[in-house]
Symmetry: C2
Subunit: 236 residues, 2 copies
């Protein structure tokens, strides 16, 4: 699936820049702008930060149709919930459903984001194959356009790269158990009463398992416990 | 769980306003600002849109400690990945893991977002119980502070309210089957060849099931198919 972000008549440079930055954050690079109401100048570049090139390479077209000519699927975004389930036009999917639907698509998927003041019109939504809406509190549904873009692009990133933990190399069960056994020995050397000791050992295991602790964290703790035992035994 | 959003030395009014707006979008209302480097004036109000009241009611404090005095857990955000898994300070969880960890907490959870220019310092992260990092492309990790806030608040909203589809009342299997039977009758009346007819009926069922169609959509389609049959039969 290849994504094309289509901003329809954006009114503020800052938002165009913010969307470009988010696209780079989540590794998308094709930005189209339909009839912009803003110059796409210095302010867009400032908000884009390290994604200025995406603003510069944005494809500008006069009408929406041009941006949708060659796409496999066009998805419009809206914050306006249908008042009745009978409203077929605004029968929207969540960003997560959107990612599941478009994930297997080979061609280009266009994600349309509307003007800051009033979003996409009914006519524009009718051009779309699918309508996406982000779940929010009912009392304030309208997200800023860049906020909406960020959430949908984040969900797409997750669906493509998984939401696995990136930064923690989990300790295996054996090293967790070894640490807990050492902790038990420490309790013994520290003359903790047996019933307290059993509870404390279980508490320590609970915390390690629930966290769960990384292998680095486990080995750092192991070092402390081991050395404490050695000191208690008067080994140095 | 009660959430407190803590902006640490924000540098731009627009971002404070954007974070306030996102908080209202996702139904959080407690904003603290530590030593702001920006006036929190008209521009913050403009970006806050219908959440101006959150900017006005923001609690201002001089040092981070004051914002963390009474919390159950403080979570810092960072885009800076540890270079080695041995880095214990920046061993971060994803926003999804964050929501799972803080969901069962009864007290206040503080979510810290750093300055636009350089995020949270190591000292500030050391004050935190937990570090959260949003998965992004490696070539451009740094999200705008409001974008980061939006994604974490969105995940919290989902974890609290479910990510069920909000807008579609799914058709039950019986009404989908009724529609498909009618479509089969239409094929018959339209003199579609039998082998084509079987394939077309299956294709139609596939599309309806894979979508899946809502009850309103199904009944609208049923109306068309039924009336087409009647017309073909010359009933009116």
């Amino acid at each position: 699936m290849h994504l094309r972000v289509v901003l329809v008549e954006p009114e503020h440079d800052g938002n165009v820049g913010s969307v470009a930055r988010l696209m780079k954050n989540f590794d998308f690079d094709e930005l189209w702008v339909v009839n912009p109401q803003t110059p796409l100048g210095d302010e867009a570049a400032a908000f884009a930060s390290h994604a200025k090139n995406l603003v510069q390479s944005a494809v500008r077209v006069d009408v929406l149709d041009e941006a949708l000519k060659d796409v496999s699927l066009a998805a419009g975004t809206t914050s306006i919930l249908p008042k009745r389930t009978a409203n077929v036009l605004r029968t929207a999917v969540t960003p997560e459903e959107f990612t599941r639907i478009v994930g297997p698509i080979k061609g280009t998927v266009a994600l349309l984001l509307g003007r800051e003041s009033k979003g996409l019109t009914n006519l524009e939504l009718e051009e779309c194959d699918l309508v996406v809406s982000i779940p929010t509190a009912y009392h304030y549904r309208a997200l800023n356009v860049a906020s909406a873009a960020g959430i949908v692009l984040y969900e797409l990133w997750k669906s493509q790269h998984g939401s696995r933990r990136l930064y923690i190399e989990e300790a295996d069960r054996a090293s967790r158990r070894r640490l807990v056994e050492m902790f038990d020995s420490l309790c013994e050397e520290a003359l903790i009463l047996p019933y307290k000791r059993r509870l404390a050992v279980r508490a320590f295991l609970n915390v390690l398992s629930r966290a769960p602790a990384s292998s680095r964290e486990t080995s750092l703790l192991l070092g402390v416990v081991r050395q404490s035992i050695q000191r208690l035994k008067g080994e140095f």
